[in-house]
């Protein structure tokens, strides 16, 4: 996962790759109202959070709002962050709850056609493994999952979180995460079978 280049005072840039300790230090500095620390954390997390919120909500119109709200909560609540959880778990938890809240507020039952195009246009070494048609099938099936199921999938396979971390993000027991993943997988299997059937 790449992190953005952060400009130093002399104009030179260097990659920002915070470790867990660095992140906790940044949050402590933010609690002391250090805007530069907030800037660093914000730049580091924005791409990941943006992707996560996009994937969970599938509503491009609310992504920026959820991101703004999430980072402002980080700014305000940095003092209440405790070291028992990882910084990433804490921040993703805030984003997840803000995303669900924003979704509840929306009336539109139809999800926007958000990222099928980008899902399909992705160019990378995986393309040699995944045939284009297979990618279409998976993208279509993922779009049909619920927000909670998409969140479990995204946190597991893109963010690489453990089951316990996901339980913290979602504020639920570990067994609930396993159950959600079980149903997400089952639904995916059914959807993929349906898509395959449609193609015959």
């Amino acid at each position: 996962m790449s992190w953005p280049m952060i400009a130093e005072r002399g104009g030179r840039s260097q990659p920002f790759e915070p470790s867990a300790v660095d992140e906790a230090t940044l949050v402590a500095r933010i609690a002391g109202r250090d805007a530069a620390a907030f800037d660093l954390l914000y730049r580091g997390y924005r791409p990941r959070l943006r992707r996560f919120v996009e994937r969970v909500t599938r509503r491009p119109q609310i992504v920026d709002e959820v991101l703004d709200d999430t980072m402002l909560i980080v700014w305000r609540k940095a003092g209440s962050y405790n070291l028992r959880s990882k910084v990433s778990t804490w921040i993703f938890g805030i984003a997840y709850r803000r995303a669900l809240k924003a979704l509840k507020r929306l009336d539109d039952p139809v999800e926007a056609e958000v990222s099928e195009r980008s899902d399909l246009d992705a160019a990378g070494p995986e393309d040699t493994v995944l045939a284009r048609e297979e990618r279409v099938r998976i993208a279509k099936a993922l779009r049909a999952l619920s927000a909670e199921h998409r969140a479990v999938i995204e946190l597991t396979y893109y963010e690489g979180h453990s089951c316990a971390d996901i339980a913290e993000v979602m504020r639920c027991p570990v067994n609930t995460v396993k159950t959600r993943m079980f149903y997400a997988r089952r639904r995916l299997r059914m959807l993929l079978a349906d898509v395959a059937e449609e193609r015959r």
Binding site: R51, L130, R135, C163
Partner: protein, 219 residues
Amino acid sequence: MSGQILRFDDTEHRNADALLPWFVNETLSDDERASVDRHLRDCARCRREVEALRQLQAFCRSAPARIDATPGPRNVNDRVSAASRRGFIRPWLQPLLEHWRRAPQWTRWVIVAEFAGVLALTAFVGAYDGESSAPYRTLGESSPASPFGRIAVVFMPDITESEMRRIVQAVGARIVDGPTSTDAYVLQVPTTHPTDALMALRSEPAVMFAEPLSARVDR
């Protein structure tokens, strides 16, 4: 689910199956991983499932997010400053909003009616002052009157801060006072487009009430 007869204990299979997603993303503890490894040796179905999950993982990791078309519409420092300002407003706003939410509906209407009455009176006095003031300035008057008009606004009680910010920014206004005891805010708008601002505010569903406070804003 093929319904085939499994050679191993079904509970063990279910437990291993539940762990497969995190076996694939390599975040299992050593014990859990060893137990799944043991199970996979005997279970062809789980081995196929691992392959399917690896494919899903490859897809998730390769599919990029949409390009961030608005990488920094407002820079971070602005956000922090805005957050700080809101941090100042919040202690005032929260208890008032809480009282508003708890109040019975008829009480809310009474409060809104009273507030409307007060505003109407204020507007009337303001208009009267405007008419009675001399249409000239004396030489001793050092500067012209403020180039801004003021509008009193009451937002819906459940409005989010981001939504409030959007509405205020959209009309080019600034919050110069409030919230008052009736949850009203006073917005300052440039007199180049005061009526447009008033109409725009009234068209927002999240705005309950918008009335000009000065003669510089036409009703």
